[in-house]
Amino acid sequence: MLAMNYRGPFRVRAQQKPMPEIEHPEDVIVKVERACICGSDLHIYHGLVPDTRVGTTFGHEFIGEVVEKGADVNKLKIGDRILVPFNISCGRCAFCKQGLYSNCHESNPEATAAGGIFGYSHTCGGFDGGQAEYARVPYAEVGPMVIPPDIHPDDAVLLTDVFPTGYQAAEMGGIKKGDTVVVFGAGPIGIMAARCAWFFGAARVIVIDRIEYRLEFARNFSHCEAYNFESLEDPVLFIKKTTGYFGADVCIDAVGCEAAGSALQWITGRVLMMQAGSATALHWAINSVKKGGIVSIVGVYGPTDNLVPIGNVVNKGITIRADQCSVKRLLPKLIHHIREGYIEPRQIISHHIPLKEVSDAYHIFSAKLDNCIKTVLIP
């Protein structure tokens, strides 16, 4: 079968690979219908996540048709079209049972700090991902769900990560009616988080990025204000001023470990790799939230350390809330929101690209070419 194949930092290609097999009685094999490229994939594409082995197939956002199933798979039928949350979760451990599906303890031998994730390095379990014609899906009756017939496939594929993650970013922010919410990052996740902030009753939503076309997209899709930090003298001071020198009620980090905006962070984090990526957005978030405010982090960081102003977290009494998104927990609510017409997630998809052109697809998304917001690969 054809599959995306990682060859080293900034190098990927489409290549033939053996078909996946059932390896556990609760596995299914799906024939992939769509698979997205995610901002998280960029971190492994850029070689920032330890134990990303050459030959890995990435892809943790995919939907497809069940073509083969293990002995213990009862409810799912051959031919069912399923959407597959990016988290691999058993549904039985103490974490899954309490709804922490991203923190499952039965899906990752290589690290206890992370649950299993499809196609996301051996640090997240060493599973091959869905940017391929076929993929193995463990615990098929726990995380995945049959795609309701009224849900568009492009919405379905965004329900595997982006929409739930944006929603959880806002949810973790504990937004109260009337709050001012600042979202760092106008990538797919930041745009979604900004859009979802309104569901919780925000009165003002501000997005910060440096890419003009993305800021413009956020203004329209997320109904928010959007500012380019490169034309602001200092984004922290700007946020202080625009909130009457009070600080934002909630700040969301939807950037993660490749943040631009500070030479010191970039050199120590990205060039010398002395910290787990650059933490500029998180730094700004901590410093621009109000005293007693909440910083919600969904941006991904590496497993070592980052330079952040932890002293200010203490002095300002800030609450930090963070996690990988627990996709399964949120699915019923978010499908409801799509059906009610509150949101049409697929509007953020800018590119449909054939899997065989995966090298170009990655480069377009990574280098932000052709006004790219979100890319879907079609096997």
């Binding site: 930092p9 190098r11 596995d27 990303t52 031998p109 949810e171």
Partner: protein, 164 residues
């Protein structure tokens, strides 16, 4: 500018999930006390271990499922095995893994060559997309690279000529 009108209330879905009484615990979970049972849950069936899987030393037991693709191999594999002697809190774990990743890239190229495949690094980097969407920058890069190379070659030749 602070938004003083209430126009935002017309945004589809505004306020549908706002509930002043809802102050969920963090991390967001339905706490049920299971944490105090520690690892004592009814486990899923266990996937048979058919290839070498490196296990975190912080793990009490092998989880019920795991990926089996790309077991550690070669020099990078040796380094990965060594890295897994350290726990997840130590630099010895992560930095050795990162180093192994870089060695693995060289192994990947050697593997390609030994299978009569010359990796097309330009294509793998998506340069075709650059040609289509980013031509000006690509051309500038090529011109700069050519100029620098020519200058170096010229300088070396001149130096050669002098020392001869």
């Amino acid at each position: 500018m602070e938004n003083t009108s209430n126009k935002y209330q017309n945004i589809p879905g505004w306020g549908v999930d706002s509930d002043p009484n809802d102050n969920p615990n963090y991390p967001i979970k339905n706490y049920n006390g299971d944490d105090h049972q520690r690892l004592d849950w009814t486990r899923p069936p266990l996937q048979p271990v058919t290839v070498e899987i490196l296990e975190s030393v912080e793990q009490a037991r092998m989880p019920a499922v795991f990926g089996t693709k790309l077991p550690p191999s070669g020099v990078s594999g040796m380094l990965r095995r060594y890295a897994f002697k350290y726990d997840e809190s130590e630099y010895g774990h992560w930095l050795n893994l990162l180093l192994a990743d870089r060695i693995n890239v060289v192994e990947g190229i050697l593997h390609d060559l030994s299978h009569f495949r010359i990796p097309n690094i330009f294509a793998e980097k998506g340069m075709k997309a650059d040609w289509k969407y980013n031509r000006k920058e690509l051309v500038t890069k090529i011109i700069v690279a050519t100029a620098v190379t020519t200058a170096i070659v010229f300088w070396l030749k001149k130096k050669d000529g002098k020392s001869a």
